[in-house]
Amino acid sequence: MGFRWDLVFSSLPTLLQGAKLTVQLTSIAVFFGIILGTIAGMIRLSKGPLRLAAASYIDIIRGTPLLVQTFLIFYGLPSLISRPIPAYTAAVLALSINSGAYVGEIVRAGIQSIDKGQWEAAASLGLSGSQTMGLIILPQAFRRILPPLGNEFIALLKDSSLVSVIALEELVRKGQIIIGRTFRPFEVWLAVAVIYFVMTFAVSRLVNLAEKRVAVR
């Protein structure tokens, strides 16, 4: 009963299939998360009536576990709209909505970190509020937002394993299935861990690269 390297290698094709779904789900959720988060973050800083809605969205999503949100969407929502929600859709919804809340806070903090003088200078040059936001503030904020945004995506990539509970066969679920047939948890979980690490390491390198590109020279 030594360590079975053969099992690590023989489970790789199945695990990589799961990793593909993990990357797919995370990418889609990141895409919608950025859109949702940018909107929520900016609305939260605005003075409009939607401000409270954006703040509630961020507070409620950050204040409840992603696992519970996934269950609520998958098992709860169908009875509200009286039609089934496929597991894939439910997972994309849960991950996107969850990510959007965290991105919202990142965007808000990024915008607030830009010196007030920038607003005043833009106003004295005759720029409107939305021009200032789009041309002056957001480009500068983006530079500061990038590192925490990278963090959030690495976290999301790992957290996406939670959607295995609604029968989506991403990386963790594939690992469980192999263990259920081989009874060798150590080898399989080790392979799963290595694949996750390769993926998150690639994301963090990409974010570093992007940071360098937008850095002030």
């Binding site: 609604i166 029968a167 469980q176 299935i177 259920g180 009874f183």
Partner: protein, 253 residues
Amino acid sequence: MFAVKKLSVLLLTVLFVLGAGFSALGQGVLKVATEAGFMPFEYVDAESGELMGFDMDLIRAIGEVLGLEVQIDNISWDGLIPALLNGNYDCLIAGITITPERQGAVDFSEPYFESVLTVVANTGTEISGLEGLAGKTAAVQINTTGDFTASDLADAGELKGVARFDTVADAMQAVLIGVADIVLIDLPVAEAYLAANPQAPLEHAGPVADNEFYGIAVNKNNKALLEQINAALAELKASGTYDQIFQKWFGAN
């Protein structure tokens, strides 16, 4: 000086707490793991919070025969065999079907229950056993015989797909919310679920595989315990205690 004293007290407390974890593996105790989502074999009683069911009564009776105090932990189905293999438990009783694959990893006691897989589907279904499954999606509890059978059927093109959930309740819910068409599950569990959830528009529609047998799983390096459990099972059958437990949970037949 005072800080050092405080620190040593803290360290001793930590050691004591850690030690308590190990001492539970002592003599005179049978450490059992189950997954209590498998009514009527093992479930958590809603009122008392106690582990109840046919398996629970049986293993407690076995403990009594052997003169061992039975301690049962309710853990995840997926973790049962790994937790037995790494020595956290002495045996598993969780409606585990004896399969050649599992026998490669653990030893099983003599069979203590004969079961069969059935199909659960929405009421009024045209499915009967293996008939009419083409194009359907099956919900199953991951790594159960229901999962293995459904996976084989899907590989053979007789099922559209398999959705694997952590618990029986989740798999049943998947049919109720319309993301799956059927559940492949052990007949007694299907009957208990339907009896406990009379409002659920589900019915069971015939057996789908050969009969299967449940066994108590024991680590392969613990032949002594395996023999003890088999001897206790034989004694319970001879004394009529097994029949009493059976009747309590399944009635006359």
